[in-house]
């Protein structure tokens, strides 16, 4: 339990650093650390497959692309967008509403449910695969089609401006 509190503290600590870091590249590096703490959370829950997939996909691929893009964009102080006063007020107002909503929903949940993890071996690859491909086969396949359509859409957007071959 103390491990959980320590890791949870680190998660929150690094995610605060993500939004408070001045340099966007540093901010991404803190985000990588935040995702690494999530991996540890999954391992603590004995969800090995989820942990390693989070590690490979989020830390190893998606955040590398984030970093890649940010390194190519020239983010100087001069090019930083200046936010109008009204936008800041709206941001504070929206954030306050979100905080109230989260606080009230947390209150509804009440004390944590200790029997949440009924089957501790559920996260192992074999069991997870069996559950996914038996009970949740249709949603699983539908979500894969969703990802495929997103991919096709991205390719279409990228090739849209290609002009016909010049004579």
């Amino acid at each position: 339990m103390s491990t959980f509190y320590f890791i949870a503290f680190l998660s929150i600590f690094f995610s605060i650093l993500v939004i408070s870091a001045k340099n966007p590249v540093h901010s991404i590096l803190y985000l990588i650390l935040t995702f690494f703490t999530f991996t540890i959370h999954y391992i603590l829950l004995n969800a090995q497959f989820l942990a390693i997939v989070n590690f490979i996909v989020y830390m190893g691929a998606i955040l590398v692309l984030f970093l890649y893009t940010l390194m190519l964009i020239n983010l100087n102080k001069e090019s930083e967008p200046v936010k109008p006063f009204m936008v800041k007020v709206a941001g504070v107002f929206g954030g306050g509403i979100l905080a109230v909503a989260v606080a009230s929903s947390l209150k509804l949940i009440g004390a944590s449910n200790p029997v949440l993890l009924q089957n501790p071996d559920l996260g192992l690859v074999k069991n997870l695969g069996k559950v996914l491909f038996n009970e949740f086969l249709l949603p699983f396949e539908v979500s894969s089609v969703l990802l495929l359509s997103a991919m096709v859409g991205a390719v279409l957007l990228a090739t849209k401006e290609k002009e016909p071959k010049a004579a």
Binding site: V25, L29, I32, Q48, F49, I52, V53, F55, I56, M59, G60, A61, V64, L65, L67, Y68, M71, L72, L124, V125
Partner: protein, 343 residues
């Protein structure tokens, strides 16, 4: 029993760590000797007989060189880069089975640091983490050449990780497990996976060259275009770490390839040998066989480096996305169809 197990494990970790460092050290020497052989030269022959003390001399030189941190570099990240590179290179060896269970003084020990049931994915995770060392170092140098080298490394690694993962999926369809220990056990004797997955092995091999940034895919450090690539600004032992990490990566990826495709510590006639020399010497012969395979694979890496010229960047991307990925998907379909028909 618990304590002896623990002690054995700690000893194993230290031994594996030492072996990977020594192998990496002597790979630098071997690379120069192999290059000399291919180019009809003599190679390093001054330090000690046949120059075998050359790696020590090189290491001493690296340590004694002046440490330079450029004024405009991001100080902390400039140091994190090479540290991360060498760290990720070293932790990959934890899941590789170096031999079958060995009996010492009445106890049986596994010659593997830890057998997690997602071992193959762990290797992938470590590989995908390796690119951060290069990216962070290249960015923190605050140098255009370093940044371009780092960006090349990132795009190259991500592109080739996909086809590497797809080539592994076909293998996993046959083995039915993600544990490297079980995969090695299934290839008992001469039933190596490479006979069942020849195309998958070739795809994996090409991707391994790209992931370790070895020639012909060493574009992140292409000196004709980028001075030194991501390590242009580095000096002294920080540069040494980057170069060393490359050789350790080569060693680990050779070990992974040997375990996944070339039967690991298995060799034909191993039952006969094990029955005649006993349960202590038998697994040790297996370890020697595994290292033989690894050394041949490292030699192959060097052979290719001094034979094939470097790719152009667009050729690299074309090969990765337009040839390797479709081939890997075809391999998955083929494997699925054949294994269903033969069932």
């Amino acid at each position: 029993m618990e304590t002896t197990d623990l002690i054995f494990r700690i000893v194993l970790i230290v031994v594996i760590f030492a072996i990977s460092l020594v192998v990496a050290m002597y790979s630098t020497y071997a690379e120069r000797k192999v290059a000399a052989f291919f180019q009809d030269r003599i190679g390093p022959n001054r330090a000690g007989p046949w120059g075998i003390l050359q790696p020590l001399a090189d290491g001493g030189k690296m340590f004694l060189k002046e440490e330079i941190i450029p004024t405009n570099a991001t100080g902390f990240l400039f140091i994190v880069g090479p540290s991360l590179a060498i760290l990720t290179a070293c932790i990959g060896s934890a899941v590789i089975p170096w031999g079958s269970a060995i009996a010492i003084g009445g106890h049986t020990f596994d010659l593997q640091v830890t057998d997690i049931n997602v071992g193959v994915l762990y290797i992938f995770g470590v590989v995908s983490l390796g690119v951060y060392g290069i990216m962070i170092g290249g960015w923190a140098s605050n140098n255009k050449y370093s940044l371009l080298g780092a960006i090349r490394a990132a795009s190259q690694n991500i592109s080739y990780e996909i086809s590497m993962g797809l080539s592994i999926i076909a293998l996993l369809m046959l083995t039915g497990t993600l544990s490297l220990k079980e995969i090695a056990e299934q290839q008992h004797g001469f039933a190596w996976n490479v006979w069942r997955q020849p195309l998958g092995f070739i795809l994996f091999l090409v991707c391994a060259f790209a992931e370790t940034n070895r020639s012909p895919f060493d574009l992140p450090e292409c000196e004709t275009e980028l001075v030194g690539g991501y390590h242009t600004e580095y000096s002294s032992m920080k540069l040494g770490f980057y170069l060393f990490a490359e050789y350790i990566n080569m060693f680990i990826s050779s070990a992974v390839m040997a375990t996944l495709y070339w039967g690991g510590y298995n060799y034909p006639g191993m039952d006969w040998v094990a029955a005649h020399v006993g349960p202590t010497i038998g697994p040790l012969i297996g370890v020697v066989v595994l290292f033989g395979k690894i050394f041949f694979s490292i030699f192959f890496f060097m052979w290719v480096r001094w034979t094939i010229p470097r790719f152009r960047y667009d050729q690299l991307m074309d090969l990765g996305w337009k040839i390797l990925i479709p081939l890997a998907i075809a391999n998955i379909v083929l494997t699925g169809v054949i294994s269903t028909l033969l069932k």
